[in-house]
């Protein structure tokens, strides 16, 4: 197929002609170089399986049995189904299409205002800014480009509290935030600020009364994420915004997992700062933005000083290709909103129903206040890591994705009051624009079979089936 397209699109005649004109003696040699370049993912998959089965922890949990749990499907491809949409999303081909021209000719510095090269790219940057602002009903002047949500979150937490440090020194956030918010808050604590980490209930939701009670005269910032990256729980952003406005404190929300996926309106919801990440909305990685309200004005100390780009809040030359790709991704999430959400919701319901049909499984997080594209399920009496190993044909992550190097159970599930065993046996399924029905059917079948297989190996499972109450057993050792 490729060969024929190669002939038609890249005229052979022209190629041969060019060579002949230069008068090489070797003009007759056919340069039949294939245009196709293939990336072998199976190799990576095998290396990963190898590395995993070599690690000490896994050997203890019986890796030979796991080899049997994994089955190859002959007659089909080998590339895993991608269900880790919270980690990152595939780049939309339409996004790539907008980005390419910045590498093939549109290379001006958008901050050069003395010539057309700069002017051209600047125009594209501003178009992108408009698309990004439109999704959350913001003004273009309120969007500051950053390298991603991690930088945006750091900028918000550190920048705002440093600017107001003369009068205020208290920050409020929650225990289920992304690591970058928690770590930024901890860094502020080391700088002498007072930080309150709010608890969440068993559904992962913050208590509004507790939040309001935590606000002090010295509070300058409340930071609560819109959608949780591990369990998909949606916080009551509008209510929190109202409380913050009433008490005259700034409200920041980490919307990396929410932007373009749930309705967000910064004015209606009284949001003062909002972090966005491009690669969670099918855009390029290494790109993001921070919405900073202008009226009433939110002021912050910049982390990066320099030439004064981005209203002096984030200096440094912008990457126009990434900005434009991000802009196109934002335009698409708005344009495709209805279609995407219907699709994701339908597949999510199918998946949730299929997985919860397996006995002793439970959905983590609130069943009502959630973004459907993130489904986190605990499979009792199965070790999450073992299940992931037996699922080489599906790209998933366990609840502890953030610290995947260690086998530490997820702090988010802990905050919900789940015990270690439950947290260890949880897996997160991410559904997106490019997920298909066929894939979901495959996943339900694969998980059902392999959970059953792994449970058959578990002595605990045998006891459960015999009706022994595990809590009544006195464990010795350990």
């Amino acid at each position: 197929m490729l060969r024929s397209f190669g002939r038609s699109v890249f005229s052979r005649q022209r190629l041969v002609g060019a060579v002949a004109r230069r008068g090489y003696a070797t003009a007759k040699v056919a340069f039949d170089v294939p245009l196709e370049t293939h990336t072998d993912l199976q190799k990576a998959n095998e290396d990963l399986a190898q590395a995993r089965s070599n690690s000490a922890e896994v050997i203890e949990s019986g890796s030979t049995a796991l080899k049997h749990a994994y089955q190859e499907n002959t007659g089909f491809g080998t590339r895993p189904i991608y269900l880790d949409m919270q980690a990152t999303t595939p780049t939309d081909p339409r996004v790539l299409d907008t980005m390419l021209k910045f590498y093939t000719g549109l290379y001006g510095n958008p901050h050069s205002n003395t010539h057309s090269y700069g002017w051209e790219t600047n125009k594209e940057v501003e178009t992108a800014r408009k698309h990004i602002a439109d999704v959350i009903n913001a003004d273009v002047k309120e969007i500051v480009f950053t390298s991603g949500a991690t930088e945006s979150n750091n900028m918000a937490l550190k920048g705002v509290s440093r600017f107001y440090k003369k009068t205020k020194n208290h920050i409020i956030t929650t225990r289920t935030e992304h690591k970058c918010v928690l770590e930024a808050a901890r860094a502020m604590k080391n700088e002498g600020y007072d930080v309150t980490f709010l608890n969440v209930d068993e559904y992962g939701l913050v208590d509004l009364k507790e939040l309001e009670a935590a606000i002090k005269p010295t509070t300058c910032l409340v930071s609560v994420m819109a959608v949780n990256n591990e369990i998909g729980v949606m916080q009551p952003i509008k209510e929190i915004g109202a409380i913050c406005r009433k008490n005259k404190v700034f409200f920041h929300t980490d919307a990396a997992q929410a932007y373009g996926k749930i309705p967000l309106d910064v004015n209606d919801m009284n949001i003062d700062l909002l972090s966005i990440s491009s690669h969670k909305i099918y855009g390029p990685k290494g790109m993001g933005a921070l919405f900073v309200r202008r009226r009433p004005r939110v002021r912050l100390d910049p982390i990066i000083s320099g030439g004064g780009q981005e209203r002096g809040l984030r200096s440094g030359t912008l990457a126009p290709s990434l900005v434009a790709g991000f802009g196109e991704a934002a335009r698409l999430v708005k344009q495709e909103y209805e279609t995407d959400i219907d699709h994701v919701k339908r597949l999510s319901e199918k998946l949730t129903k299929g997985l919860l049909a397996i006995e002793h499984t439970s959905l983590n997080g609130s069943p009502d206040h959630r973004y459907p594209g993130c489904v986190n399920v605990s499979f009792a009496y199965v070790e999450g890591e073992s299940l992931l190993m037996a699922l080489r044909d599906i790209a998933l992550s366990s609840g502890s994705a953030c610290t995947s190097a260690s086998l530490e159970p997820s702090y988010v599930l802990h905050a919900l009051g789940k015990d270690d065993a439950m947290a260890h046996s949880s897996i997160r399924f991410g559904i997106g624009r490019f997920t298909t029905d066929e894939e979901i059917d495959y996943v339900i079948k694969a998980i059902t079979e392999r959970v059953e297989f792994l449970r058959e190996l578990s002595p605990l499972w045998e006891m459960v089936k015999e009706g022994i109450d595990l809590n009544s057993i006195e464990w010795s050792g350990h």
Binding site: F5, L35, H38, D40, L41, G77, T78, P80, T339, T436
Partner: protein
Amino acid sequence: MSASPGPSRAQVLALYKQFIKNANGFNNYNYREYFLRKARTTFRKNRALEDPATISAAWDTALKDLGVLKRQSVISQMYTFDKQVVEPLDPKHHSRG
């Protein structure tokens, strides 16, 4: 294009076929399935359009989208990956490596 009478039925059908053909050209399973689904839903939805200006705008958008699809399906064929586990291996297709 301002005073155009709008595309004929045959023209729309031909355009739809182009969308399907190019969407099918994607080497990547997920992109292929998505653009096939998108082509079907968009054309089905636009069938209900009546206002000539809206029809003309939809036609222009579709032409632009087709351009994107053509370029990207060609690129997808140049940078290929293994087939997906839900995709049947077609022996007629090129083999890896």
